[in-house]
């Protein structure tokens, strides 16, 4: 039985201070996300309730209660302190979805350091860029990924220790140290660091059009937003079993795969496995998952398998479905009604917003294809892209923007305050997506207003790909743009001009694809490479990606008057 208020009532009565009171927080007091997700839940009488039901892809399974999670995170935090890690230091978590990843994030927060989760599929260049920028002092990883760290450790002067969580029988080198969390004696009297509202909490790297990825710096006060949006938009109820598909290397995996649900005392199920429709449905049915937060790419992959496969499993346990990462197309919403008997509710937000900001609120009419309406307490609008003033009237295309003032907006980009300031126009935080608003106040995605590529719900910056492409011995110059894709919405396409002496070939094409996959990540790997003689450039020699992108999308090429050769 849902206790989430009606959208209209929530909008009318909403007050962030009321949420703070619900959390027992008062302005100026201590607030520590790690404590809220563990100790507070135990103090509420839920110590024995399962916090985490974890399954590996080979079928191994472990369950941890909130009290066990409290003790393990205390123990982990105390161990890090003994290792010499202090408050404010950046501690990277670079591993698959193991329990140690989830407990590690909370442990780092409990001891006042900054958690920097990174997607474990990142290659060594992507990893180095982010660790170097953050001045990370400790990386927590597993033997499967430690070799990527070994190859860059000499170029990371701030890195003091590399912690390997499954090092039994594995020879360690240099700054590496083993951690067997389950074998450590429980820390009996760990004192949670007294972080306050503006204390940095999590650093998530996100891509933009220009330059290398930027470290979006969140603070402990973000909890207030993440708690209430998880409770209401995901419609979390005490008896729910909740599954978030997202990897904690991305913001959804921390805001709604760690903080939001656990701050609400909800049991989470986690599957450390790649995509497999049969396994996913089996996981849902066996664990009686009732709330599922997924992504359009995953939903479209499930669609390819057909609704019949879903109906062959006992999925009556599913009560509420939500989606995030990229716009959820109307067909996917309609298909989910057919397959699961209920629609996926699309949500819109970004790494920088820290929480859902435009949502299909439970109980609200779902308009398939729309991202919904602003969450209570959030002022959203579409702005004129030149004047940055709100567009009045329905159906006008503008850029999505938000009035600052909600708790989880990032406080800066790490070492890049100028880039952060650049996100604000005329008093609005500008998201970088274009949309329209209809007469009922529903937002409808139109497209990006920059060159960032949204592939499978992850933003990939063209600059990072182009820089890596230039490191390949055959590549003279390149441009990376988005190409439409029926499953991932967009994929990376690279236009490559070769150096003299190299000829286009199928083998070279594959070699370059694998080169980028290993250096950066599978997400950044061009799924198509087009070899060209030259790239479109301005008269000053700057590559014009928008012309290439427009060609891929079949859109008008726009003003070409500045092209070097028209």
């Amino acid at each position: 039985m849902s206790t989430t208020p009606r959208y209209e009532d929530a909008i009318r009565d909403f007050d962030w201070v009321q949420v703070e009171k619900e959390l027992g927080y008062t302005q100026g007091g201590d607030i520590n996300i790690g404590w809220y997700c563990t100790d507070r839940i135990c103090e509420q009488g839920l110590a024995d309730k399962p916090a985490l039901i974890w399954e590996g892809f080979k079928g191994d399974k472990r369950t941890y209660s909130f009290d066990e999670m409290r003790i393990l995170t205390d123990t982990f935090a105390a161990w890090l302190q003994d290792l010499g890690v202090g408050p404010g230091e950046r501690v990277c978590l670079f591993m698959d979805r193991l329990p140690e990843l989830y407990f590690g994030v909370l442990a780092v927060l409990k001891m006042g350091a900054i958690a920097q989760p990174l997607f474990s599929a990142f290659g060594e260049d992507s990893l180095w860029t982010r660790l170097d920028n953050a001045g990370t002092s400790v990386v927590i990883t597993q033997r499967k990924h430690v070799k990527k760290v070994r190859r860059i450790v000499d170029r990371l002067p701030a890195l003091k220790r590399v912690v390997v969580v499954d090092a039994e029988g594995f020879p360690l080198k240099g700054p590496e140290v083993a951690l067997a969390l389950d074998d450590l004696p429980p820390a009996g009297n760990f004192k949670v660091h007294p972080t306050t509202a503006e204390s940095p909490s999590i650093l998530h790297y996100t891509s933009g059009t220009t330059g290398q990825p930027k470290g979006a710096q969140h603070v402990h006060y973000s909890l207030v937003s993440q708690y209430i949006t998880a409770k209401w938009v995901l419609d979390l109820q005490p008896e729910d079993i909740y599954w978030c598909n997202a990897d904690p290397g991305w913001v959804t995996g921390t805001s709604y795969g760690i903080i939001g649900p656990w701050a609400n005392g909800i049991t989470q199920a986690v599957l450390d496995s790649g995509f497999n429709a049969e396994k996913w449905y089996d996981f849902i049915a066996r664990n009686r998952v009732s709330v599922w937060y997924s992504a359009p790419t995953a939903i479209r992959l499930l669609m390819k398998e057909g609704a019949e496969l879903a109906r062959q499993h006992d999925l009556d346990c599913l009560r509420h479905l939500c989606s995030v990462g990229e716009p959820l197309n109307a067909e996917a919403v309609i298909w989910s009604e057919e397959a699961f008997g209920k629609p996926f509710h699309d949500t819109f937000w970004q790494t920088e917003t820290g929480c859902m900001v435009i949502t299909n609120f439970p109980g609200m009419k779902v308009k398939p294809g729309s991202m919904g309406r602003p969450f209570p307490g959030i002022t959203a609008a579409v702005l004129d892209p030149v004047e940055f003033t709100p567009l009045e009237g329905p159906g006008k295309v503008g850029v999505i923007a938000l009035k600052p003032g909600w708790p989880s907006l990032i406080r800066t980009y790490w070492n890049n305050e100028q880039g952060y300031r650049g996100k604000f126009k005329n008093g609005w935080f500008v998201c970088g997506d274009q949309a329209t608003v209809d007469a009922d106040g529903y937002f409808w995605f139109v497209g990006r207003d920059d060159d960032v590529i949204n592939t499978g719900g992850h933003l990939v910056g063209p600059f990072e790909i182009e820089s890596a492409l230039l490191e390949h011995p055959a590549v003279a110059e390149s441009a990376a743009v988005a190409k439409p894709d029926p499953v991932n919405m967009e994929v990376v396409k690279a236009f490559v001009a070769l150096k003299p002496g190299f000829e286009p070939s199928a083998d070279l094409d594959l070699e370059i694809m694998n080169f980028i996959r290993k250096k950066l990540s599978p997400l950044a790997m061009p799924q198509e490479i087009e070899f060209v003689e030259e790239l479109p450039k301005t008269r000053s020699g700057k590559i014009i990606r928008r012309v290439l992108r427009a060609r891929e999308f079949g859109e008008p090429l726009g003003d070409l008057s500045t092209l070097m050769s028209d």
Binding site: F57, R143, K144, G274, K304, E305
Partner: protein, 83 residues
């Protein structure tokens, strides 16, 4: 078919497991659900098969299930080669 299997297995080990020498994989190891090859990397594996065996694998046939083990990949290649 056996030739395909060994060639594909060798390629997967070389291209996707260079950092994980501990992982022992066989013709039946789950590549996609096991996280060795993800849905994005599948594209480069598909490209390898197309180049190596001079075939075109239709997108509809390049499903995560068809690419989940060396055995299933080899069966797919064999089917397309014989068509």
């Amino acid at each position: 078919m056996e030739d395909y299997k060994q060639t594909i297995l060798d390629y997967v080990i070389k291209e996707y497991l260079e950092d994980d020498e501990d992982e022992e994989i066989t013709f039946d190891t789950e590549l996609i659900s096991g996280g060795i090859v993800d849905s994005f990397s599948m594209v480069s594996l598909k490209r390898f098969l197309e180049n190596k065996y001079e075939i075109q694998i239709p997108d509809a046939d390049a499903s995560p299930e068809a690419f989940d083990t060396v055995n299933s990949i080899a069966a797919l290649v064999d089917r397309i080669k014989q068509a």
